[in-house]
């Protein structure tokens, strides 16, 4: 649109510049020509009238008039002193008004006493007195008013030609002026859209050519700065946070060399940069510097040496400062990471120690009590075994919580039948297998999970059911297709106790939560740990909807169908 406007403005300007002088000049010529033709007619007619008046006598009849008309090539009319027509040569001459008649549109004094007037009929009339003065008669010579040559047609032709020429020139000019401009605009559009490789062809050495060349330099500068920015922003991307201060410093030095073309780069830690930058001596290499800044804190400085040919502007300094800030952040992160990792390892070491120191005596207690129980058959020893085992499980639960939090749980997957595992867990709680109401609908299926973990989960659910719920406790196993059609082994543990209030359904899985008021028994970790373990094995644990009294917990595990090969 703008391009069209510019082009039409150019055309209009060219047309005006060509047409107006031509038009003005032609009009002037026409006027002057007209004027001089009229003047010469008047002079000639006046002289003729004078000459005729001098030669005429009193025989002023029609034949004399015709003779004179023949001689002069004009219309001839004779008037008496009173202005009456005496005779005329006819053919329009009889319409000549009498001298000093009010019908003569304009009367001028002709040369040598003749009087000139122009009639409304387009006639030029010259009156001359015969005899006198006072005049006895008057002779009038009339002629149609002379006109200039017919110049209108050539003039129009010239105008049209001029216009065509103007149009052609504007097209040609438009091409050479507007084409580079629109190319420049398209390139700027591409530049704006992010294509820093966009270049305008430099076709001439004029202002437009120089504009294109300086645009190209601008684009090249932008592209260069962009590359530097990319290098700076990616400086630490390949490094993990624990890479260490030395690795980050080396990466910063590499990036600075690449981004700014430094011939030498150094990172100094613990020493802020010089307050005043050194003066640059033209033609000599010089140093630039930026602080490794973290807010108000300065961890050190990064310093680079530039070759003499390289420019250094505000934008470059800003970019170097950004690199300094990034390096400071990376160093701080590395320090924090080391501290965190150290702390985490300390914590793990502590927990391992706690576990070891608690479990080792429990192992002995359990082992010897078990041995004695076998030897003597004393039921009280069986209780020691059960309770020491219970204590071990609670210690293990506490330690598992921290692993669930850290997300470091890794199951040792094996395949096993769920029914046998449920029976074992039931037995380890001190109950004979004959008490267990197990509905094993999963024969032909094996669970694919961590045996020890699943045993912990089942133990915790059974323990909860016996402790907080109430008998009879039922366990139901069933293979169930999940929403994706994959078969899962569902284990449901149901008691017939008071159940869980609707508002407590999710709270039951929170850590350190005991739903029975006033209870101090139990760690409040059982369900939370069980859920963490099940989820780490790719399953889910939830409170099932049941009819009737009690609570039912269900967990799902990956399942495998048994097929005899």
């Amino acid at each position: 649109m703008r391009r069209l406007a510019l082009r039409s403005r150019l055309t209009l300007t060219l047309a005006a510049a060509a047409v107006i002088p031509v038009l003005a000049f032609s009009l002037l010529v026409l006027l002057i020509l007209d004027q001089s033709v009229g003047d010469r007619q008047v002079d000639a007619l006046g002289a003729e009238a004078q000459l005729a008046a001098g030669q005429l006598g009193s025989d002023l009849d029609a034949s004399t008039a015709a003779r004179v008309a023949d001689l002069t090539g004009t219309g001839v009319t004779f008037f008496d002193a009173q202005g009456r027509v005496l005779a005329s040569s006819g053919s329009g001459a009889d319409r000549v008004p009498p001298p000093r008649s009010p019908t003569a549109s304009a009367t001028t004094a002709g040369s040598g006493g003749s009087t000139i007037s122009r009639t409304s009929g387009g006639l030029v009339v010259a009156y001359a007195s015969i005899g006198g003065p006072p005049a006895l008669f008057v002779v009038a010579l009339s002629q149609p008013a002379a006109t200039g040559p017919a110049l209108l047609a050539p003039l129009l032709a010239i105008l049209v030609a001029t216009l065509l020429l103007a149009a052609f020139l504007s097209l040609a000019l438009g091409r050479s002026l507007i084409h580079p401009l629109s190319e420049l605009r398209e390139t700027l559009d591409r530049l704006q859209a992010g294509d820093l490789q966009a270049q305008v062809p430099v076709e001439s050495d004029d202002e437009l050519g120089r504009l294109a060349a300086s645009h190209n330099r601008l684009a090249a500068t932008l592209a260069g700065r962009n590359r530097s920015l990319a290098v700076v922003s990616q400086a630490f991307a390949p490094l993990p946070p624990q890479a260490g201060v030395a690795a980050f410093s080396a990466a910063a030095e590499r990036a600075a060399g690449q981004a700014f073309g430094f011939t030498a780069v150094t990172v100094r830690l613990g020493q802020p940069p010089d307050e005043t930058p050194p003066e640059r001596v033209p033609g000599e290499a010089f140093d630039v510097e930026a602080p490794l800044a973290m807010g108000d804190q300065v961890l050190g400085a990064i310093r680079g040496t530039l070759p003499p040919t390289r420019d250094w502007g505000e934008a470059d300094q800003d970019l170097l400062r950004v690199l300094g800030i990034q390096l400071a952040g990376a160093i701080r992160n590395a320090e924090l990471f080391d501290a965190t990792a150290e702390l985490a390892e300390l914590k793990n070491e502590f927990l391992r120690g706690v576990s070891h120191n608690l479990q080792t005596p429990l192992t002995s207690i359990r082992a010897f009590a078990g041995q004695l129980a076998d030897e003597t058959g004393d039921r009280r020893l069986g209780i020691i075994v059960e309770q020491s085992e219970r204590l071990s499980r609670l210690v293990a639960q506490l330690l598992t919580v921290t692993k669930i939090e850290a997300g470091t749980l890794k199951p040792q997957v094996d395949v096993f039948p769920m029914g046998a595992l449920v029976r074992r867990a039931w037995e380890s709680l001190g109950h004979p297998t004959s008490d267990l109401a197990l509905d094993d609908g999963a024969t032909g299926w094996l669970a694919a999970a961590d045996r020890d973990w699943v045993e912990q989960v089942v133990w915790a659910l059974l323990d909860n059911a016996l402790r907080y719920g109430g008998g009879p406790v039922e366990v139901r196993l069933a293979p169930v297709a999940d929403t994706a059609g994959v078969m899962r082994l569902h284990t449901t543990v149901r008691d017939h106790g008071p159940g869980i209030a609707p508002g407590d359904r999710e709270r039951a899985f929170e850590r350190f939560t005991r739903l029975s008021p006033g209870t101090t028994e139990g760690s409040g970790l059982g369900l939370s740990v069980a859920r963490g373990l099940v989820e780490a094995m790719g399953g889910r644990l939830w409170l099932a909807d049941i009819e009737g009294p009690g609570a039912a917990f269900t967990f799902s595990l990956p399942a495998e169908h048994i097929e005899d090969p």
Binding site: R352, T360, S364, T400, L446, A448, E560
Partner: protein, 234 residues
Amino acid sequence: MNAPGPTRILLVDDDPNLLVFLAGQLRSDGFEVHTARDGQEALRRLEGAWPDLLLIDLLMPRLDGLSLARQVKARADLPIIVLSAIDAGDSKAEALEEVAEDYITKPFHYPELRARIMRVLRRVGDRVPSGQLDLGGGVVLDLQRRRLLVDDQEVRLTPVESRLLYALAAHLDTVVSTETLLARGWSDTEAPDPSYVWVTMRRLRRKLERDPDVPVYLETVRGVGYRLNRATAD
């Protein structure tokens, strides 16, 4: 168990009560047992005579179980079972995978420990290359590190999968019976059943076969067992 006489076990634990208890139990089950209170003492004992199996605690003063296991493994392929209060999900336990044959969490039932010992001893005599075993077709076994490389992509193996592949790799191109595989993979307290082998083989095929339904490496020999094959060149 190439040597005649009872199987020798070196038991290393810093809890004297447990040492006494376990040594007594193991001796009554017919093992020859030597004990050590820490890693240093264990190394000194090893200089005298090599046992058939090492039972070690993970946390011990002076030289911990992991370092001890590494030093022992560097010298000989001695089966090692780790006893520890740290469960197998711990980061330290993970490092043990490369050196320990099995792992048993404290507190444990003695019958379970005995079952594990028996299972580990069953594989003594099986030898597979200590490095990597290239099965061809882009599949490489790396049993020391309990992993497979399929087209250079690491695939982790579970302990049981690793044990079964170890038994099969020790008899490459030969049929290994389902009973043998069951005895190698599971201890007696785990109520072993042939279905464990069938299902685990199916799971293994998903890990190393291009098309688990048309196995190339893990071949079923009907009515007998399984055979590990190298991929034949196309």
